[in-house]
């Protein structure tokens, strides 16, 4: 685990809301007695959604909810590519870069975003709003170029659509501040 993660006190004392805890309980009951660890992936998704990324504090909290060792959570969180183990921008662009999407110009579109936001893949825009990541096939190959942002797939992308999306997210972020 990187020390930068350990030292970031972002989520000290993090807890889920009462509704979320009810959901955690529902998820754990989907598995037989003693097998509730199976709910871990989904609870980590919830943690990431509520706290932005999975810090050690969040992972330790999930371990306490599941009543398992923290290392069991770290092991899982580091295996799956959807989990962010470092802080990310408010909107994470997960852009598909696999072969089928490339036949439809995915790489050009990625370059367009890089230039527009003045970032490299893996980087976050200066205003902290946007992080650009490349990911592998998301099961939307026929609707390329495409990216996932949060739980939503944005498909048939082109420069114009990207401009509009970014503009709307900028407005959304400004209105919330």
């Amino acid at each position: 685990m990187e020390s930068s993660i350990k030292n970031n006190p972002a989520h000290v004392g993090c807890t889920f809301s009462a509704d979320r805890l009810t959901e955690v309980d529902r998820l754990m009951k989907q598995y037989p007695e003693g097998k509730h660890k199976s709910a871990i992936l989904r609870i980590l998704h919830m943690g990431q959604k509520d706290f932005g990324w999975l810090s050690v504090e969040v992972m330790d909290y999930v371990a306490s909810l599941l009543n398992i060792q923290p290392i069991e959570v770290y092991e899982v969180a580091t295996f799956y590519s959807m989990y962010h183990l470092k802080p990310v921008g408010k909107y994470v662009f997960e852009f598909c870069q696999t072969g089928p999407c490339c036949t439809r110009g995915a790489e050009k579109t990625i370059d367009y975003i890089k230039n527009k936001l003045n970032i490299e893949v893996g980087g976050t825009s200066a205003d902290g709003l946007f992080t650009l990541k490349t990911v592998e096939c998301l099961g939307a190959c026929g609707y390329a170029p495409m990216m996932q942002v949060g739980d939503v797939f944005f498909e048939h992308l082109n420069e114009e659509k990207i401009d509009t999306l970014i503009e709307n997210w900028r407005k959304e972020a400004a209105s919330k501040n």
Partner: protein, 448 residues
Amino acid sequence: MAGKKILLANDHVEGIRYYDAYRKHGGYTSVEKALKMTSDDIVEEVKKSGLRGRGGAGFPTGMKWSFLAKPEGVPRYLLCNADESEPGTFKDRYLMEYMPHSLVEGMIVSSFALGANTSYIYIRGEYMWIVSILEEAIAEAYKNGWLGKNIQGSGYDLDLYVTPGAGAYICGEETALIESLEGKRGNPRMKPPFPAIKGLWGCPTVVNNVETIATVPHIINMGGDAYAGIGVGRSTGTKLISACGNIRKPGVYEIEMGISVEEFIYSDEYCGGIADGKKLKAMIAGGSSVPILPHNLITKTAAGEPRLMTYESLADGGFISGTMLGSGGFIIYDEDQCIVHNTYTLARFYHHESCGQCSPCREGTGWMEKVLHRIENGHGKMSDIDLLVDVAKKIEGNTICPLGDAAAWPVAAAIRHFRDEFEWHIQEPEAAQRGNYPHWENRPEVVA
């Protein structure tokens, strides 16, 4: 000729995503029928239907079911594989998104046949909105007495849940899926023991693809023999094909097994031909793991026969001049696509997705990616081509799970059919940076 539709016969019916419309159009009748049959009879119908697994390997479903161990007092599990991460494949998503009840219905009938009282749908984490769609459909099924205790007064109990993954292609491999469902890293297990003997939590388990399971109700409704009457030979029934790449109409199509590849690519009912008036250069028929074919082997086999959309015809010629139906992820490449670049992006994919347990896969996929990257960027050596072939050979068959083969085959096939294009990249790096290989239409003879 309009092709026969079974799975997607009603996909455009208004409200078919919800219970009322689904039921009105004949939904759940297979459960009523199945609950009056014995589980052996259901397995028998599925055997007769000739249904083969739609997840990629094409293993006969009825036979797989009959291998399930049935020790007294031990629960058995049915797991639906909705991990769908094979590049080019997006058919299960369509089925779950638009007809979630067809999967729920299939899970009920199949679970009953296998004697499972708890079943799970393991779905890739990126399909999070479909998790909600499925859970909504499952809630409707509980409400209407198709799930839960004593289903329709039959005495049979079944609980059905959805478990999302979190981004890992390898979790589509059945034993990795089981590990992941147990809340662990998705590292494939050594086989044997097979899941049919020791699977989820050490209990006998069957893993089936979404499309496979959604087909079962139709087999029960029409009877195994009638289903076997659709299609050709050992490729019975229909198959969902997700078509992408440089075609006019990318999307998900249900085909009757046995239509020609030519019809599938060029007719308006399906792909609608190559986009922008370009020429067809290459095709991958069954998801990125199967061998790529050059234009002269796509609509015809090496023997000059029309190539059909069946397991057998696509595989005609073996790996020398054939490919595989696989998952039905159909990728079309036009004359502007660079084979070296495509091979590189696929190698990068497999390297990224290797779980790292076996050294031939972990090291070999990384090595292939690195060599392909240098060829693509104009720093390749002629010896790199044979090096790639050699690395691919050393991975193949030497790993715990088939991801190793899946990574080796596309590289080996690309070099087998497009060696001249690789050579050109190495010999004329500047031209290769500027444009595409000009001689792609002059294909060398296929040699054994």
